[in-house]
């Protein structure tokens, strides 16, 4: 579904990514974890066509990201909810689809808001919603767009830990229903392990010597469906410890 071959991205003298290759299957949930400034966001943005590869190649379903953008195949969810403050929750959900040149589907958008627990908040504006609710609207917007691929850049980064855990469970059930391909960037190791089929560890410090590379890759060995009970399980703790040690051994 997504293929990244020998990707390097540099900004002037700054080398953000160095020779990264990866393949993601359709319907797979891949998490990318790493410290701030390691290049994980750059990787996600390059897959989504918001940054240009300096060398190497990215393709989405065989096409370059630009083509995937034009067909509304890529649904971004950013750390900042990026809702338009003057539009209601419902309008925000349909807005991106209209911008992509597709017919809006109000009923579908309402259903999506209901599925994400926002029944009754259709006419609320972002200022009236909590941080978690705003991110739910942003996720509904990406799904309503009809994208096959969800590119999520620390979407829960600004939420409190309790809301984060709730949202993690919710995103998994949404993913189970919609079977989207998800690339999920985070700096939280437990989040990366809990969500992912596969967890990629990116390391780097944005200096010439320490450009972002994938330093480890884990197949997460936790049965699905996963819910809150996973957080307390021994297997989960073990996997988290493994990923942590991969992060720290490289740093």
């Amino acid at each position: 579904m997504i293929s990244v071959e020998n990707l390097s991205v540099t900004y002037g003298d700054l080398r953000a990514l160095d020779d990264v290759s990866l393949d993601i299957d359709a319907g797979e949930f891949v998490t990318i974890v790493g410290p701030s400034g390691c290049g994980k966001t750059t990787l996600l943005r390059t897959i989504g066509g918001l940054e240009e590869p300096t060398t190497g190649r990215v393709s989405v379903d065989g096409d370059p990201p630009d083509a995937a953008q034009s067909d509304a195949r890529l649904g971004f969810v950013f750390q900042d909810h990026t809702l338009l403050p003057w539009k209601t929750a419902l309008e925000n959900v349909t807005f991106l689809r209209r911008m992509a040149g597709k017919d809006p589907d109000s009923a579908g958008a309402r259903d999506l808001l209901a599925t994400t627990g926002l029944d009754g908040f259709e006419e609320s504006r972002p200022a009236e919603l909590s941080g978690g609710m705003k991110q739910r609207v942003a996720i509904a917007r990406a799904i309503h767009l009809g994208a096959d691929v969800l590119l999520m850049d620390e979407p829960f980064g600004e939420l409190d830990e309790i809301t984060r855990d709730e949202m993690s469970v919710e995103i998994l059930s949404l993913w189970r229903e919609t079977r989207k391909t998800v690339v999920f960037v985070t700096h939280s190791v437990p989040e990366a392990v809990f969500l992912g089929d596969r967890c990629l560890v990116v390391s780097g410090s944005s200096s010439a010597a320490g450009a972002g590379r994938i330093v480890a890759e884990f197949d997460v060995d936790l049965s699905r469906p996963r819910d809150e009970s996973v957080f307390g399980s021994e297997a989960f703790g073990r996997q988290v410890a493994q990923v942590r040690s991969a992060l720290h051994s490289d740093a």
Binding site: Q69, T82, M99, A100
Partner: protein, 251 residues
């Protein structure tokens, strides 16, 4: 049966009390010190002037209002258009914008006598002068507003390859409107000043002209009556713009 007592909002009561006290002090001053009416007429005398010949003030007020409306509209449209051009064309931005900002220090009123030489006395010259005065705050406000769109919102639209016109209308313009209106609000007060100055120098009608002629005849009561009408007009215009702002711009 219950008696409902309607208490006016304190936001209105205090300013009105202040006004009443000021007029009362003015009145007492004229009575206690027996000021000759030709030097400082009492508020009652000014009100009598207004009531005695309402047509004179109304006709002149409409003349002035018309200059503000036409000149103001021309100035707002031209200012918005230039800001748009400056924003869209980087070369223009660097070559022209610094001078638009610097033009704040230019006392526009000093330009009126030059206009007199080039364009002569008349309605058109007055319009042009009001337009020039209104123009600058609108350009600067709009140009600032057009840069106000958060990058993340632009990324979002880029991720679905939204066309530039749609992006502009749906996201950039609404983000700019508060600044555009800030410029227009500033312009309204300036436009009243501009119209009065224009009527002193560039045309022979309207409240400005009435004040000037009354000054030559030492009719302080007429001058104060015209001034009162000007203040009322300025407040109405400012209120009108504020209402437009509330109707158009998200809060």
């Amino acid at each position: 049966m219950s008696v409902v007592q309607r208490v006016p909002a304190p936001g209105v009561v205090l300013p009105l009390t202040g006004l009443a006290v000021a007029i009362g002090v003015w009145w007492m001053f004229t009575v206690v010190f027996a000021v000759p009416p030709f030097l400082l007429p009492s508020p009652a005398a000014v009100a009598a002037r207004l009531a005695g010949n309402p047509d004179l003030y109304l006709t002149n007020a409409l003349d002035t209002l018309w200059k503000i409306a036409v000149g103001g509209s021309v100035g707002v449209v031209a200012g918005f258009a230039l800001a748009l051009a400056v924003w869209a064309i980087p070369v223009l931005d660097r070559a022209v914008y610094p001078y638009l900002v610097a033009a704040r220090v230019l006392p526009k009123i000093a330009v009126a006598p030059i206009f007199l030489i080039y364009f002569g006395v008349g309605f058109d010259t007055a319009i042009l002068f009001v337009a020039v005065i209104v123009f600058f705050p609108v350009v600067v406000g709009t140009a600032a507003g057009l840069d106000r769109t958060p990058d993340a919102h632009l990324d979002l639209l880029r991720s679905v390859d939204a066309d530039p016109v749609r992006t502009f209308l749906a996201v950039r313009l609404p983000h700019a409107l508060p600044d555009v209106f800030a410029g227009v609000k500033q312009s309204v007060t300036l436009a009243v000043v501009g119209a009065v100055v224009a009527e002193w120098i560039l045309s022979n009608d309207g409240l400005g002209s009435l004040i000037l002629v009354a000054s030559e005849n030492v009719q302080v009561d007429v001058m104060l009556a015209a001034l009162a009408v000007l203040i009322a007009m300025g407040l109405l215009l400012y209120g009108g713009v504020t209402l437009c702002y509330r109707a158009v711009v998200w809060q």
